[in-house]
């Protein structure tokens, strides 16, 4: 398996897509809705942005096509994380956490809670 480090750093669009898929397989619009909800409306992806990312992730092997759940429109394409994708997501999150810790140490961010 490729080293997840190879893919870091992630652009934030990619990060959000992976994060969204980490909670389960979704189809295109489902990802958009999830990311919007998660960021409180601050990030509402456009279709073009999403699918450029989807293609890239698919080519790199971080996500894959999965079967649609039963009782849903079979035309929709559902996506899910691969093992590599999960690993990359964790690696990036750890990297960001490290950075955040450094920021706390330098008093850029308060020690507890959100800014």
């Amino acid at each position: 398996m490729d080293s997840p480090q190879r893919f870091l750093p992630l652009t934030h669009v990619v990060y959000h897509v992976l994060l969204s898929l980490s909670h389960g397989n979704r189809h295109g619009y489902g990802i958009i809705k999830d990311v919007a909800r998660r960021t409180g409306g601050r990030l509402e992806l456009e279709a073009g942005t999403l699918y450029a990312a989807v293609k890239r992730l698919g080519d790199d092997g971080l996500i894959q096509d999965v079967a649609a759940p039963p009782d849903t429109d079979a035309r929709r394409r559902y996506y899910g994380l691969t093992e590599l994708g999960t690993a990359v997501l964790r690696a990036e999150s750890e990297r960001l956490e490290e950075l955040v810790q450094l920021a706390r140490d330098a008093r850029i961010l308060p020690s507890h809670g959100r800014a």
């Binding site: 652009t11 295109g28 619009y29 456009e46 279709a47 073009g48 942005t49 699918y51």
Partner: protein, 899 residues
């Protein structure tokens, strides 16, 4: 909207599109449906713009395959900032920022947007006219395969006025390259409406006419073959024009099958033709006429309009070659009529529009000039603006803005300006089209079909986009690759921009002035020509005169009213009408052009008595007119020699004639026309007429054509039913039109009136076309001059502003106001002079294309060139002077503080 989104996807690489395209459309649709309720209209627009932007971004990134490739510009499009904002969001921000900064500089915004609006508006309005006339569809099936037929004289090369039925029949029978050939004969009927007779004009067409031109009726049908056979002269059926149906009959839905009373007979309407059908010319009714009445002698006549259609697969060249062969063989079969007669085939479009094409194309050239001037203006103004904002750019650059971002800032501003300019321009276009419609001559083809349509709008948007690209991006791209260091060091104490941008601006201004000179000189030449035209003597007084034309036939039969009784009755009544000063009669009034009044051009051969007859084929001819004895007095045609007619010249007294100066000069060069005898007719019917007087030449065919030899005879000695009453009025002649018509109908209610018009309005028709072209060209020249002036003013203005500090220092160091003014003026004047010189050279080269439209003026007329060049120079100097005066008022203290 979704359709457009789908269309936008073609920008994506094919593989990607195939894989994700459908899904993207579905997702967008779902997204839209979910959110649209919450969106306000601007948010809706924002949504779609963002989606479009995302497609553009994806189109770039997917192709690049990686994040770190591509140039700065592409990157600014592709990358999203960390807070999730993409380029398109930045676009809105930039837009608002640009709008704000434009509002802070109202003069610049006004000048630039106004320039664009004026340029786009005026050029699109004229494009509408050109497009409507030249490129719209004709309402005929495959009009490119229809040709108009004409006789021509193979020896002299002169083209005849029309075609003959017999020749058309021969073509129909013997030609393989023509699948249909037909003729139409001009005709008129008396239509009884409410007991009054109205003259209706139209055409009698041969079988196959509608097939040849390819027209389907809007209602009903065309003629059946058996309807061409009928006894007598009056056909039992007619086809009606669309205009007559809506105008005279109120779009009556039952018109087909209804009856009209024509020439005292009941005639059935079998159909209504489509709205734009006007072959051979605009008319009200079309009737059927079989081939039978036309036999050999009339083969030579050419008063009919002929049309033919190329057979499938035949080319125009093949048809022409075949027709030439047929013409040659016909000239052998019918030597009396067809000797040296050729046939000409003229494509329909050329036949209909040939006349107006050249002047319209010239005007289109003028359009191009104005648009170029507008673009140059925009480019210059934006370049100047860029120079002014050097400090701002330097700062931004130092703070980390990429070259791409700088490009975007300037580009956004230019696109905003272009957008506003386009919108305003569309408004101006609409106004312009209204103006063209109301001021244009009536006979300009399709003038009533001018409107701003989709194609024109596309042209406007295209022109706007072109202006934005040329004017905005080009100079701003120059600015985007700046040497930041250079800008920083220059900023504040800058000269008017970097050297190359200054040179570019100067060249633009020079080009503008040159183009303006070309346009103005062209307009000036045309105006001078017009003035020459007006100065030429008409030969008669057209003011306060009303002409009413009738064709009085059928009198004196069965003991009914005789013609003299009718005429005298009308004259008496007219003279009793208040406001009428004098009434006279003529067989043909000058200035009639087959518009409102029919032109009666009768030329007769004659011999001078006691002179050797001229050789065969070279007989003398002159135009003949029959007039009442008081005609010359009523028309104020001066008498040069001898006498005019008197009451005593009647059927009992010797035959007398009055000739015009041209005839007298041509045939009696020693000046002794009075007393000579002219012989008319031949053989037993020859009559001898004594010349008793010579009158001044009358320009019967209008200003532009020289007088022709004419002779007049008294109506009492040579009667005719073709009569025009000329009524001299004390007040407005048009106001007496209905009274004049009533006077005629009181004497004979069934006498149809062909038409009534004031002599001035008849002349107006001729001059209207020249006046129209002139106004358009003149309007353009004014626009061009305005734009050039704006260009110089803008350039000088910014130049002064840039050098505020330099000028302030000069003043502080004791520089005189006069020196400063002169310095600025010299710069501006230098550019203006260069532009004028260039313009003169250009005008000398280009005005030769106006040759066909000029009358009495050379295309290189020195007086016009000199005067107008000086005028342009003057305006340019003025445009440079205003900023110069402002330069003087610079307070040195303020200037230095800006440092």
């Amino acid at each position: 909207m979704l359709l457009w989104y789908r269309r936008l996807l073609v920008l994506l690489p094919r593989g990607f599109r195939r894989e994700f395209g459908e899904e993207m459309c579905r997702v967008v649709e779902e997204h839209w449906r979910a959110r649209r309720q919450e969106f306000s209209p601007p948010e809706m627009a924002g949504f779609w713009l963002r989606q479009a932007g995302a497609v553009l971004r994806a189109a770039v990134t997917v192709r690049m395959g990686g994040r770190d490739q591509g140039s700065a510009i592409l990157r600014t499009l592709a990358v999203r900032n960390a807070d999730g904002r993409g380029t398109m969001d930045g676009f809105w921000m930039d837009l608002r920022h640009s709008a704000r900064s434009l509002r802070k500089r109202p003069l610049f915004t006004l000048l630039t947007a106004g320039t664009l609006a004026l340029g786009i508006g005026s050029s699109t309005a004229l494009f509408s006219a050109v497009h409507a006339v030249l490129f719209r569809d004709l309402p005929y099936e495959q009009p490119e395969r229809v040709v108009a037929l004409f006789h021509d004289n193979r020896e002299t090369g002169e083209r005849g006025d029309g075609f003959s039925a017999a020749n058309a029949r021969s073509l129909l029978d013997e030609s393989e390259r023509l699948q249909a050939a037909a003729v139409a004969e001009p005709w008129a009927w008396d239509l009884m409406v409410d007991g009054r007779a109205e003259a209706i004009r139209g055409w009698m067409v041969s079988p196959g006419f509608f097939e040849a031109v390819g027209a389907d009726p809007r209602l009903g049908r065309t003629f059946l073959p058996e309807e061409f056979d009928y006894p007598g002269d009056q056909a039992p059926v007619v086809l009606m024009s669309h205009g007559t149906w809506t105008g005279r009959f109120g779009s009556d839905p039952d018109i087909v099958g209804s009856d009209l009373l024509l020439e005292g007979q009941v005639v059935t309407v079998v159909g209504v033709l489509p709205p734009e059908f006007a072959l051979p010319d605009k008319a009200e009714l079309w009737g059927p006429r079989s081939w039978k009445p036309y036999d050999d002698p009339s083969r030579a006549s050419d008063y009919m309009a002929g049309f033919a259609r190329l057979a499938p697969g035949a080319s125009l060249e093949e048809a022409r070659a075949e027709v030439d062969r047929l013409a040659a063989s016909l000239s052998e079969t019918y030597p009396q009529t067809n000797t040296s007669m050729g046939f000409r085939l003229i494509p329909l479009r050329e036949h209909l529009f040939g006349d107006v094409r050249t002047p319209l194309l010239i005007l289109l050239g003028a359009v191009g000039f104005v648009l170029l001037i507008a673009c140059a203006n925009v480019a210059g103004l934006i370049l100047a603006r860029g120079a002014e904002r050097q400090r701002e750019y330097a700062l931004r650059g130092a703070l980390g803005a990429s070259a791409g971002r700088l490009v975007r800032i300037v580009a956004t501003e230019s696109f905003l300006l272009a957008g506003v300019g386009c919108l305003l321009g569309v408004g101006i276009t609409w106004l312009g089209v209204q103006a063209i419609q109301s001021l244009g001559p009536d006979h300009l083809p399709r003038i009533d079909e001018l409107s701003v349509d989709g194609t024109v709008l596309l042209f406007a948007v295209g022109a706007g986009a072109l202006s934005a690209i040329l004017g905005g991006l080009a100079p701003s791209l120059r600015l985007s690759r700046p040497d930041l260091k250079e800008m920083m060091s220059q900023g504040g104490r800058g000269t008017s921009g970097s050297r190359s941008s200054l040179k570019l601006r100067n060249r633009l201004v020079v080009a503008e002035v040159a183009a303006a000179v070309v346009l103005i000189v062209g307009a000036g030449l045309l105006m001078k020509s017009f003035a020459v035209l007006l100065d030429e003597e008409l030969g008669f007084d057209p003011t306060d005169r009303l002409a009413v034309q009738v064709f009085a036939y059928g009198y004196g039969q069965d003991g009914g009213m005789t013609l003299p009784e009718f005429v005298n009755g009308v004259v008496d009544r007219l003279q009793a009408t208040p406001g009428v000063e004098q009434v006279a009669l003529t067989s043909s009034v000058p200035a009639a052009t087959d518009g409102t009044l029919a032109a009666i051009d009768v030329d007769l051969p004659f011999l001078v008595a006691d002179r050797a007859p001229p050789p065969e084929g070279r007989e003398s001819r002159a135009w003949s007119q029959q007039v009442s004895f008081d005609y010359f007095e009523a028309m104020e045609i001066p008498l040069r020699e001898g006498r005019a007619f008197e009451r005593s010249d009647d059927s009992e007294s010797p035959r007398v004639m009055v000739v015009n100066e041209t005839l007298a000069r041509r045939h009696f060069p020693d000046g002794r026309a009075v007393g000579e005898q002219l012989l008319l007719g031949s053989g037993e019917r020859q009559t001898s007429w004594e010349i008793v007087g010579v009158v001044a030449d009358v320009r019967s065919q209008g200003h532009a054509r020289p007088p022709r030899p004419e002779f007049y005879r008294s109506l009492s000695q040579s009667g005719t039913g073709s009569l025009t009453f000329v009524i001299e009025t004390s007040g407005d002649p048009a106001a007496l039109t209905s009274e004049a018509r009533e006077a005629i109908w009181e004497v004979n209610p069934s006498q149809s009136i062909w038409g009534a018009a004031t002599l001035e309005s008849l002349l107006g028709d001729w001059l209207k076309e020249r006046r129209f072209n002139l106004m358009l060209l003149g309007g353009f020249a004014v626009v061009a001059l305005l734009l050039a002036a704006v260009g110089i003013y803008g350039l000088m203005s910014y130049s002064v502003e840039q050098r505020v500090s330099e000028l302030g220092i000069r003043k502080a160091l004791g520089g005189q106001s006069g020196d400063i003014v002169r310095m600025v003026l010299r710069e501006g004047a230098g550019l203006a002079v260069a532009g004028v010189v260039l313009g003169i050279v250009g005008a000398l080269l280009l005005t030769r294309f106006l040759d066909g439209m000029l009358f009495g003026v050379e295309p290189t007329d020195p007086a016009t060139f000199a005067l107008l060049s000086a005028a342009v120079l003057g305006v340019a100097a003025l445009a440079a002077l205003l900023p110069a005066l402002r330069a003087v008022r610079i307070d040195p203290m303020v200037a230095l503080r800006e440092e």
